[in-house]
Amino acid sequence: MTSASGESAATGQPAATDQPTASDQWRLYEVFVRARRGLSHHHVGSVHAPDAQMALRNARDLYTRREEGVSIWVAAAADITASSPQEKDSFFDPAGDKVYRHPTFYDLPDGVQM
């Protein structure tokens, strides 16, 4: 980790240690909010919580203070499988040369309504 040691002679406060504190063991949950009916859930951020139920409550307090949502999902970040940025090019390559999947690929006679 890149942090300093946490020692501080100037303040006389206890120095930070490597000992985990109670919330250190809390899992990270990613939060998804449905803004209103008819829309899908969108990723809005993350929260820490000791379990999923409390993650939901924390997410409610943190991400819907202004009626931003009608439904929340939380998913443990550790359970999410992500593509790797290193494979970015090879992973997405197969779609790269298939421009015929877009309507703009096709030539149409002038004046036709479609």
Binding site: M1, T2, S3, A4, S5, G6, E7, S8, A10, T11, Q13, P14, A15, A16, T17, P20, T21, A22, S23, D24, Q25, L28, E30, H43, V44, G45, S46, V47, H48, A49, P50, D51, A52, Q53, M54, D61, L62, R65, R66, A77, A78, I80, T81, A82, S84, P85
Partner: protein
């Protein structure tokens, strides 16, 4: 908004290992005005700069709850009390958004809080000035939040994706912070002679600390050049400070209050307000820890954290008690 830390950890520790392909990709992204995302390779100094800046920003939100928290029971009406509570809750939330962004760089929230509590990490020096009267609640909202918003609007386009996304959300939520403060001063400015004097006094005390929030002048700022090159900062300290002054002077005129700078005047040639010298010795003194409230703010934060320990333990106990039941439920 932040997230996307899943997958193998890309954060570097100790000596920097330069990944030539990674560096080329990083520089191309900066050049294209694109965003750096958590799992991209980034130079160690970029990571450290972001950690320092985001941590200081997060801590400022958390420490910034104290001056107002002290006035919740003394707000002059139920309306003002509700507003103050909402603003303080927002500040707690903004701190959390920023700690989440920090975590994507490899520093946990607990680690950052420990460093704050130990006095190793800094927060904005403006919170080391005392809030003495109700008018200070107005002046803090108008001037301190006003200055913060000018800074934060510029940061919505910062090159680190999670930080930029946090800023967008924070800016949306914070515009009411400044308005409620200004509105409180409007009310005082239309009040009795004593109320007007209280209003002017608070403005006089908060004006200079608000200007110092933009940091040292460009010539003395050790981070500005590199941060501009990496597009972490989009405008310099002096540019942002000038923007704030130009916005604020007319707002002071509307409520018939003066700003405590005899040299403040419109310059038609530059299209900006000229201002008098800022006492940078005072700013450095407060940054070093000799402000009026440095010790009090830090001691209070430590006390709150310690007194909240039982809540964290209770949450753990509750989760442990319900874990077997949840496991049964999912097995069924």
């Amino acid at each position: 908004m932040y997230g996307a830390t899943f997958g193998e950890d890309q954060s570097q520790t100790g000596d920097e290992v330069v990944d030539a392909v990674g560096l080329e990709h990083f520089e191309a992204l900066i050049e294209q005005d694109s965003r750096i995302e958590p799992r991209d390779w980034m130079p160690l100094a970029y990571r450290q700069t972001m950690i320092r800046q985001i941590a200081q920003h997060a801590h400022s939100e958390i420490i910034g709850m104290q001056p107002e928290g002290n006035f919740v029971t003394r707000a002059p009406s139920l309306r003002r009390k509700a507003i103050l509570l909402a603003k303080i809750q927002d500040e707690a939330g903004h701190g959390q958004y920023l700690y989440s962004a920090l975590e994507t760089l490899g520093m946990s929230r607990d680690q950052a809080m420990d460093l704050l509590h130990a006095g190793t990490h800094k927060y904005s020096s403006v919170f080391n000035y005392p809030a003495l009267t109700w008018a200070d609640m107005g002046a803090i909202g108008w001037l301190v939040d006003g200055a913060a918003i000018v800074n934060q609007v510029a940061l919505c386009r910062t090159s680190y994706g999670p930080y930029a996304r946090a800023m967008v959300r924070i800016c949306k939520e914070e515009s009411f912070h400044q308005r409620q403060g200004y509105e409180a001063l409007v009310v005082l400015s239309r009040g009795t002679l004593e109320q007007r004097a209280m209003c002017q006094d608070a403005i006089n005390r908060w004006w200079w600390p608000a200007l110092m929030m933009f940091g040292p002048p460009d010539g003395q700022s050790s981070h500005t050049a590199q941060s501009m090159a990496w597009k972490i900062k989009r405008q310099t300290n002096d540019e942002l400070r000038q923007k704030f002054i130009d916005m604020t002077v007319p707002q002071a005129e509307v409520i018939g209050m003066s700003l405590p700078d005899p040299e403040l005047r419109w310059n038609a040639a530059t299209g900006h307000y000229d201002h008098g010298p800022i006492d940078w010795d005072e700013m450095y003194r407060v940054v070093r820890g000799d402000g009026p409230c440095n010790q009090q703010r830090l001691a209070h934060r430590n006390q709150c954290h310690d007194e909240g320990q039982w809540v964290r333990e209770a949450a753990n106990a509750y989760a442990a008690k319900h874990a077997p039941r949840a496991a049964e439920g999912s097995a069924a």
